[in-house]
Symmetry: C2
Subunit: 232 residues, 2 copies
DNA sequence: CCAAAAGTGTTATCGCTACACCCATGA
DNA sequence: TCATGGGTGTAGCGATAACACTTTTGG
């Protein structure tokens, strides 16, 4: 069998920035690294790409090992390839961000990996170039969420408008006018109002909504302008 | 020295979708592959990532070898990792698209690689998954150009408004109203009108413009909405 | 003088922003 | 009854889209 013999081979890994939202706070899941180098330091969840799988496949596999979930929303956003990024051996890392409904993940499994959820704003320092990856993922998430309804991937099936608004406010670290926000949402036609109310937060209660999945899929790629002047 | 010994290593390459615009047509530069497999088939320009360089570095190096140009506009847009994408040996490819002023590249060098410019719309079939890469690059270029003034990277220093409009029309394969187009451009403040006219196309002549580089850099990341309803 | 391309304005509509008050309820 | 959070409407402004005619000039 022919090979491109003169060339060096490298390790190829995926790393996942896992975002979650518990209805109140935007969080990121990190694991305590189980092997050298940097053992016991905080790190992104990642792993090597197997020989029979694509990077997308590897990311899905690794996430479902960690969370027990299938069909997680994943977006490949950048590949990191600095020669010195892993001090042990050259490793190319294909980075993904994942959006998961924080209520669905399975705690037991996560604990096996010493995984923990951190508030995004006070996550610890990470190994290698993982802090850079997180910063890039945040940027990319902001960029995408300004134009497309990605953030719904973070919410449970039923959610209230105040929750949703809170989510946007956290992602953009800003305050949003609730009347304008709702008008924008309604104009997308993506929401279906339910009978039921969430009374856990206020006395009056807030109506639950669910996504109109058909419209969601149809409009996912169009430009919806959720935010006025998103940063890049 | 420790290594992650149990893992398989892969080849890591970059491939570049090179877009060019000659004032009339949007083109793509392809090369005739010089080695097996698929020798003499049309292919994207690419190469392996060296051990001492990043993928960005490799892409810049490869492009400057091909074109003689430095500081080419490059955007990493996706990494391809299907196990079977290269039939000889597993190869991960980090794909970039490049925007170059077609008048600047050096013909002699390109010929050494058997490179040729093709009209984007009638490019030949390419090897491996390169057709997919081109399709993805076009999508990404459309997406970005709808929001940011990237397309100026394809133009020479002096260009006319009709040229610019023609470029947008080709990228989006649509017809644009010239009055609205100009108004939008003017509102960005990105253009500086020159005294000189280009009389090569019409008798009356069209004024040349140049980019206001300061504003260009400042506004590059903001959302400028060049196109009404861009596809994703 | 005419063909061919460059350049220019107006109007109607829509979407965005800014802004403040009433409602429902449990304690 | 009151404190708390949920929910609603409007007016002004700016951006967008649709639309057609005049200008220049080389041949």
């Amino acid at each position: 069998m022919i090979k491109y013999s003169a060339q060096a081979r490298s390790l190829v890994a995926v790393d996942c920035i896992i975002f979650g939202f518990d209805g109140e706070n935007l969080k990121i899941q990190l694991i305590k690294r189980g092997f050298e180098p940097e053992k016991d330091q905080w790190s992104l969840m990642g792993g090597f790409v197997g020989q029979e799988e694509s990077a997308d496949g590897a990311a899905q596999r690794i996430l479902s090992e960690l969370t027990g979930l299938k069909d997680i929303y994943l977006e490949q956003f950048k590949t990191y390839s600095d020669p010195g990024r892993d001090p042990i051996e050259r490793t190319i890392s294909i980075a993904y961000f994942a959006l998961i409904d924080i209520n669905k993940y399975e705690k037991q499994i996560s604990e096996r990996y010493h995984a923990e959820w951190f508030l995004l704003k006070d996550a610890p320092k990470l190994i290698f170039d993982h802090d850079l990856m997180v910063a890039d993922a945040k940027k990319k998430l902001r960029y995408n969420a300004a134009l497309h309804p990605v953030l719904f991937e973070l919410l449970p099936e039923k959610f209230t408008v105040p929750q949703l608004q809170n989510l946007y406010e956290q992602v953009y670290d800003t305050v949003i006018d609730n009347r304008n926000f709702i008008r924008k949402l309604n104009s997308t036609g993506l929401l279906i109002k339910l009978e039921e109310k969430d009374k856990s937060v206020s006395k009056r209660g807030a109506f639950y909504f669910k996504l109109d999945l058909v419209k969601y899929k149809a409009k996912f790629q169009s430009f919806l302008n959720f935010m006025p002047h998103p940063e890049a």
